[in-house]
Amino acid sequence: MSTHSYKKFEDSDSGALPDKMTVYQECLQAFNASPVQAKRCRLLLSRLLRLLYAGETFPRVEATNMFFSISKLFHHNDASLRQLVYLATKELCAISDDILMATASIMKDIQNGEIVYKPNAVRTLARVLDGTTIHAAERAMRNCVVDKNPNVSSAALVSSYHLLPVAKDVVKRWTNETQEAITSNKSFPDSQYSTHEHYGNNKLLSTTYTYQYHALGLLYQLRNHDKMALMKMIQQFDSQPLRSSLATVQLIRYVGQLIEEDGDLTQPLWRFFPVWLKNKSDMVELEAAKTILSLPKFTSDQQMQAIGTLQVLLSVPRTVTRFAAVRILNRIAMKNPQKIMVCNIELEGMINDSNRSVSTYAITTLLKTGNSENVDRLVKTISGFMDDISDEFKIIVIDAIRTLSLKFPEKHKSMLNFLNDVLRDEGGFVFKNAIIEAIFDISKFIPSSRELALEMLCEFIEDCEYTELAVRVLHLLGDEGPKTSNPTLYIRHIYNRVVLENSIVRSSAVIALSKFALIGDESITKSIKVLLERCLQDVDDEVRDRAALSLKLLSTKDIEQAKNFITPTFKYSLPILEQQLSLYVKSNDKSSFEYPFDIKTIPTMTEEEAKTAEFKEKTTVYDESSIHVDSSKKDKEEKLNESTKEAMLQQQYSHDFAAIPEIAAYGTLLHSSVAVELTEKETEFVVTAVKHIFENHVVIQYNIENTLTDIQLEDVSVVSLPEVDDYSEEFLMPIDVLKPQTKGSIYVSFTRPESIETSSFTNTLSYTSKDIDPSTGEPADEEEGFPDEYQIEDLSITPGDFIIPSFTGNFTLAWDDLDNEESAVFNLGDVPSGGLQEVVDRLIKTLSMMACESTDIVSASASHVLKLYGKSIHGEKIAAIIRLAASSKGIMMKNQVRSSDANLSELVANHIE
C-alpha cells in the first residue's frame, strides 16, 4: 500500500500527498544513516514539510523521534541541507518534547557557522528557548543584533520580538544595541549565497534597510509605557529619516497611537506628516493619510492635505492602492461628506472599475457625499449602471440609497422612484428584501412620503412571488394604512390578496384588514366586517381563526380593548427578550422552571421609543460598509449589540437596584445618565459617576477602580455635598473593602424636588488605606491603615439628566406645536481643535436629546444649525434649535428652546456646561 501511494505522489500532477508513515520511516532511516546523504535527506525533509504544511501532524512521541533524528543532520556540513534542517526543526518545535537538546548545535552555528544559515539558526533558537533558558543565549543574541549583515541582525531582532512575552526583562538588556541597529548602515555581504540564473530585471540590492523595521518594532515594545522615551525615539527621525518604507509605516502607527492617547501632541507631531504624505511609497502615503483622517484633532486644512494625497492615489494603476484609498475615503464619507467632494470626479471615474470592490466603494462613497443639490444627479448616474452589477452589489447600493434618503427627507420622491424602478427589475429574494426594507424605512421616518411609498408597495404585492415579503408588506399596510387620508384605497388592495393568494398571505391580510376597522369610520367598519365574514368560509383554518377572532374583538362593546389586541401601542424590546429567554432556557438550575417565564421583566417600548432607537441605529456611521456578504451578518450582530447596549445597561441598573431594598422602594428607574468621569484616566483611583433619576429621588452611583497593586482600600465612601438645599442626602452605601486592581460601586441617595432642579455636587473620596503584604496578597493583621481623603471633580445634575432622546419625523411641525419659547445667547470661547463638530457632539450628549434632520453632522466650518428633540421623564416634549457661529472671537451659540413645560425650556435654554 505504502509503495503504491508513494508512487502516486511521485506523479506531481496528481497533487496527492506522500504517505505519512512512509515518509516517517524513510526519514528516520536516512537521517540516522552514516554517512549522511545530503541530497536525499533534503528531498525527504521537503516531503516531510509538504505533509506538515498540508495540515498533517504527528503524535508527540513520533514528532519527538523525528526531531531527534533531524538533529543528527547537524553533523553534515552541507549549507543547503542545514537550511532546510532549520526550517523543519522550527516547524517541529511546536509539537515535540525535549526541544532544548538542539540548543547546543544551534549555538555552535550561531557562533561559528556559515553565514548562509546563520540567520536561520538565530530564528530557530527563538523557538527552542523559553524564559528560563534565554540567559544562555544573551551574549550571542546581542552580538547578532549588532552584526553587520542585515539578515543576521534582522533575524536576531525578530527572534527577540518573539521572545518578548516570556523574557521581556532579558530582551530589555539589549535595548542599546537595538537602538544602534536602527541608525546603523548595514549591507549584504558581497557574495550573496545563492545564485539563481533567473534574476530577470531584479538587481540584487546592497541593502533594503528592513532591519530598521524590525529594530523599531522591538524598540517600541521595550519602551511602550514610557511616553517620554517614545517621544525621544520619534524625535531622532527628525534629523535622520528612516530609509525603509515598512519602518516608516510602523513609525506612523506609533505616532498615531501617541496622538490618540494624548490629543495635545497632534500639532507638535504634525511636522512629520507632510513628508510622509509625499513619500515615494504608496503604503507610507496611505498610512499617513489614514492616520490623519482617523484622529479627531487634526485641523481641517491638514485633513484636506491627506485627502489630496488619496485623490492622487485614486488614479494609480495599482488595484490594491486604489482599493485602499477609496476604502479610507468611504470610511470618512459618512462623517465628513463635504470634505471628499473634491474627489468626486475621480470617484465617478471609478464606478466602472474592473475590481468590483473598488467600484462598489466608489459608488457608496459617492452616495454618501451626496448633498441636496447633487443627489438627484447621482441617483440618475447610478440607475444607468444598475443593470451591469450583480445582486450582491446592488444591495450595497440600495443600502446607501436608504441612508441617503433618511439624510435628505425632502428628496424622498426621486429615491422612491429609483427604488420602485429597481423593484420591477429581476432579482433574487435578498435583493428584493433590501428594496422593501428601504421603502419601509423611508415611509416610517419620512411621514410625507408615506402615501407614495404605500402605493408602490400595493403595486408590488399585486405581483409578488415571495410570500415572506407579501406578508411583511401587508403588515405595514395594516399599520400605516389607517393613518392615511384615504384608507379605503388600501382595503381594496388587501382584500385582493385574500382572494388570490396562498393561506399564509391570506391570514396576514385578514389581520391587516381588521386594523382598518378601528379607524372609527362606521361605514368602513361595516364593510370590513362583511369582508371578514366572507373569510370565515376560507378553506384554511388559520385564516378562519384569525377572521373569527377579529370579528369577535370588533363586536365587543369596549372598542379600546379591541385596540389593545389588534394594534398594541407598545413593543417588547426584542434583543432583551431574546437574551432573557435564552437565559431562562439554558438555566442549569431545574427549580427555575417551576415558575413560568415572566414577560413583565422585559422592558416595553412605545412605538415612538422604538422608532427613536431604530432611527439611531440606521443612521449611525458604520465603520465598514460590509462589502462582502459573508461577514455582513456578523457585523450586523455586532452593531445590534452596540445599539442595544444602552438598553441592556439600563436593564442592568434596574436589575442591580432591585437587589437593594432601599433603592427598590423608590419605584421605577426613570432615566440613567451616561458615566461621567470624575478623575483622569491614569490616576491611582479612577472614579466615574452615573446619575439615576427616580420619581422623588436621585441616586448617584460612584464607580471606583483601585488601580494600585499594593494598596487595599477599606470603608470607601464619597462625601457628596449638593449646592442647592432642595436636594438632601438620604443614605450612603460605602464599599467595605476594595482590593487592589478591583472595582466597586458606592451609592449615594438624595431626595429630589418635584420640579426639575439642577445642582452641582462637590465630591470627596474618603477611605482607609492599608499596605498589602505581597506574599499573601492580604494586608498584615496588625496593620491599622491610615484614613485619607482624595479630592475628585464636581458632578452636576443637568437638565439633560431628565430628558430622553426622542425621534420626530417632522421637526418643523413638532416645533410649531410647542410654545413656552426661551432663548439665550452664549459665547463658548475658542473653537476647539475638533471644530464645530466637537461642540455639536458634546451638546447632543449633555442635553441628551436627539438630533433631527441629520443636523448632527456639521457641514460648514463657520456656522451650523442643530435641531434637537426629546422628551422629559414626565413625558413633556421639548425641542431646541441651536445656532452656532465660529469666528475669531470664539463660538457664539444662540439657543431657542420650546417645550410643553415652561420650566424645562427655561432650564435647557440657560444651561451651559
Partner: protein
C-alpha cells in the same frame, strides 16, 4: 480606531491549486503566546475558510478582497493561487508588497515556472522562500531578489567523500598540486 502597533502582520500564507486544494498553508501564530483563534487551532475551520475563499477569488483576478474580517491579497497563476491575509485594519498596500516580494522570489527560484507541477517538484525552494519572507507573522523581507538570494538550491548529487572542486580555485589547486608534484619528480631525477 486602534493602531496596529504589533509587528505580527501576516495572519496566513496559503497556496491553493486550481481545484482549491492545499499546496501550502500556514496560519501564523506568535511562538511564545497563547492565541485563542479557532482558525489557528482547527484544521476543519481552515479548510472551510480556504474553500470558501477559493470560491470567492477563483478566476476573478481582483488582487484584493475583504473576506471574513480579514484583508486577503492574492495572485492567480495558471493552476495555483497564492494568498496572504492580514488584519482588517492592516495597510493593504503593505500586504500586497509582501505578496509581490514572495511571488517575485518564487519566479526567480522556480525560473518563472509558477505552476503546480514545478512547485511540487521544488517544494523545498518554495517553503524556504516563504520562510525567508515571513517568520511566524513578522515580515522579514519584501525584496524579491534578496529573498531569492537567501534560498539555497538542493545539493546536486550525493558523491560520497570524493570531492572534485570544479571552480577556478579548485582548478588552480589541482594545477598547483600537479605543478608541485611534477617539479618534485623532475628535481628527483
Amino acid at each position: 480606531m486602534t493602531f496596529e502597533t504589533s509587528l505580527y502582520t501576516i495572519k496566513s500564507a496559503i497556496i491553493l491549486d486550481n481545484e482549491g486544494k492545499r499546496l501550502f498553508a500556514k496560519y501564523y501564530k506568535a511562538p511564545h503566546s497563547e492565541v485563542n483563534d479557532e482558525l489557528l487551532s482547527s484544521e476543519k475551520k481552515q479548510i472551510a475558510f480556504e474553500s470558501s475563499l477559493f470560491k470567492k477569488t477563483h478566476k476573478l483576478n481582483t488582487d484584493i478582497i475583504l473576506f471574513e474580517n480579514q484583508i486577503v491579497v492574492y495572485r492567480e497563476f495558471a493552476d495555483v493561487i497564492i494568498y496572504m491575509t492580514g488584519d482588517l485594519n492592516e495597510n493593504e498596500t503593505l500586504l500586497y508588497n509582501v505578496l509581490q516580494g514572495f511571488i517575485g522570489a518564487l519566479e526567480i527560484v522556480l525560473r518563472n515556472q509558477l505552476d503546480k507541477k514545478s512547485m511540487q517538484e521544488n517544494y523545498d525552494l518554495v517553503v524556504l522562500a516563504i520562510d525567508e519572507t515571513v517568520d511566524d507573522g513578522i515580515i522579514l523581507e519584501t525584496d524579491p531578489s534578496v529573498i531569492a538570494s537567501r534560498v539555497t538550491k538542493a545539493p546536486t548529487e550525493d558523491v560520497t567523500n570524493i570531492k572534485i572542486d570544479l571552480s577556478e580555485k579548485g582548478f588552480f589547486n589541482a594545477l598547483n598540486f600537479a605543478k608541485k608534484n611534477i617539479s618534485d619528480r623532475l628535481q628527483a631525477l
